[in-house]
């Protein structure tokens, strides 16, 4: 599904966020990305959906070689990937419903299907009653759940979630994890950056630990591994 070979990423200000990373993630895997603040987790994620380009190395995502991907084909790559951004990235002028529906509109889903599917997903993240509100009227955790709903609404092949529970209380976090586990069991690849020791240690999956831009550990059914 996702293959990186000797990938490095140096930002224009000279910071090297990733340094010679090689990794392979199979279709249907569930992978935690862990590591301290500033380690390079978000940078790793940004490379997969081509928000950033690697400075060096080769990346293949669902059979597309990203270094050869033409500018105008990027939207189609992104439609295969649902992303929960660390800072949510919601459209501020649209309602909760419209934000989630937007991901379906860009792939020209018939309106009737959109309606059914959006309501289904909003219920899954517990926001069915807030569908008419705009992001600035939501609490932090509610916005995060809208972002999650948008990421999974079009049944993408891969869901990438950058700290999807950072603003959520434990109860809600577990519900979200259930949703992710559920779609993973149906074959969706899940990549999730997280700081939650509890989640990682409870739902045991593959753990990739990044520190200072280098993969320091890659372990099936690993644990969070950092002392509290």
């Amino acid at each position: 599904m996702i293959t990186m070979e000797n990938v490095s990423k140096t930002y224009s200000n000279g910071v090297t966020a990733l340094n010679d990373i090689s990794v392979h993630i199979d279709r249907g895997e569930f992978v935690y990305i862990v590591g301290p603040s500033g380690a390079g987790k978000s940078s790793f994620i940004r490379l997969i959906y081509r928000e950033a380009k690697p400075t060096k190395g080769k990346i293949i995502v669902s059979d597309r070689d990203l270094s050869k991907l033409k500018e105008r084909h990027i939207p189609y790559l992104r439609r295969d990937i649902g992303v929960v951004f660390q800072d949510f990235k919601l459209l501020q002028k649209l309602t909760v419903y419209e934000n989630v529906a937007f991901a379906l509109e860009v792939i020209e889903t018939p309106p009737r299907t959109i309606k059914r599917r959006v309501q289904e997903v909003l219920k899954l993240v517990g926001l069915e009653e807030k569908e008419k509100m705009i992001p600035s009227e939501l609490s932090g955790g509610e916005q995060q759940r809208v972002a999650i709903a948008r990421a999974i609404v079009n049944n993408p092949k891969v869901v990438i979630a950058d700290e999807p529970t950072g603003n959520l209380d434990p109860d809600t976090s577990w519900e979200i994890m259930k949703v992710l586990e559920d779609i993973n069991s149906k074959g969706t690849t899940i990549i999730m950056a997280t700081h939650s020791k509890h989640i990682v240690n409870t739902i045991k999956r593959r753990v990739i630990a990044i520190e200072d831009g280098v993969i320091v550990r890659d372990q099936q059914r690993g644990d969070y591994g950092y002392e509290i």
Partner: protein
């Protein structure tokens, strides 16, 4: 913001319309002046009728002569008396003893050739002298050229001003939305998906922005045409008739508005699609 944008387009297009109206009218007036350049061929007092007819034929055969008209000395005197108003009455006593010549009034088909033709006529027999206000004509041509050049410069400057202001407005609108555009792209929207609302918005903005100017043109020109015409009626100062001029002008402004709107919007969006 949308209202402000439309208002900005409106003010600019009104200016464009006013200038277009001014320049097109001035240009027309300049043409009127050109059309009116005539050569007065003073015929020798001694020439008899045959010779006069012959001279007329000779003049007609000169290249570039459009029209030749005979005017008797009596006719010339009464024109003179008339043109001098009250003061001219004193001269009517000379009707019996007319000191003026018979005249051929000649018009060139291309006004700029007046001088060449006048020179040729002067060579003919039975011509006492040729009058065509050499200096006045040259001055008028020069004025005419200046007016056209200045007019053209003003129109171009204004259309660019309009384009600049509109694309500026749209650009700023889009800057305000660049975060939104970035997010849309990250969620998988294609460029054309993002572009078309801006395209529509640009066209709408341009067209809505030109409605008021069109109203101003139709109303304003109607008023000015009807009132101004009574006040200023010098020889060459004549406004283009309301119908069809005001309608043509309205069409032009609408077209300019729509084109500029779409153009400005397309140009400005392009920059932000590289996310």
């Amino acid at each position: 913001m949308t209202f402000a944008s439309i208002a900005a387009v409106t003010t600019t297009l009104i200016l464009v319309a006013v200038f277009l109206a001014l320049v097109l009218n001035l240009d027309q007036m300049a043409k009127n002046i050109e059309q009116d350049v005539q050569i007065s061929t003073l015929i020798d007092m001694t020439a008899d009728e045959d010779q006069i007819v012959e001279l007329g034929e000779e003049i007609e055969q000169i290249d570039g002569v459009a029209e030749v008209q005979f005017s008797s000395n009596d006719n010339e005197l009464s024109k003179l008396v008339e043109s001098m108003g009250d003061e001219g009455q004193a001269w009517s006593m000379f009707e019996q003893d007319n000191p003026l010549n018979h005249v051929y009034i000649v018009e060139a088909s291309i006004p700029e050739e007046t001088e060449v033709i006048a020179d040729q006529i002067e060579e003919l027999n039975n011509v006492e002298s040729v009058l065509y206000g050499k200096e006045v004509v040259e001055q008028l041509f020069q004025f005419n050229n200046y007016a056209r050049a200045i007019g053209l410069a003003l129109i171009i400057a204004l259309v660019f001003t309009a384009i600049f202001l509109i694309s500026n407005t749209i650009k700023i609108t889009i800057i305000a939305r660049s975060t939104e555009i970035g997010i849309q792209k990250l969620v998988g929207a294609t460029n054309s998906f993002i572009r078309w609302p801006f395209f529509v918005e640009g066209a709408l903005l341009g067209i809505l922005g030109s409605l008021a100017p069109v109203a101003v043109i139709l109303g304003g020109y109607y008023y000015i045409y009807n009132n101004f015409a009574n006040v200023v009626n010098f020889r060459f100062v004549e406004l283009l008739p309301f119908d069809p001029f005001a309608w043509q002008l309205s069409g032009m402004v609408l077209l300019i508005g729509a084109v500029i709107g779409v153009w400005g919007s397309v140009m400005s969006v392009r920059k932000f699609l590289k996310v």
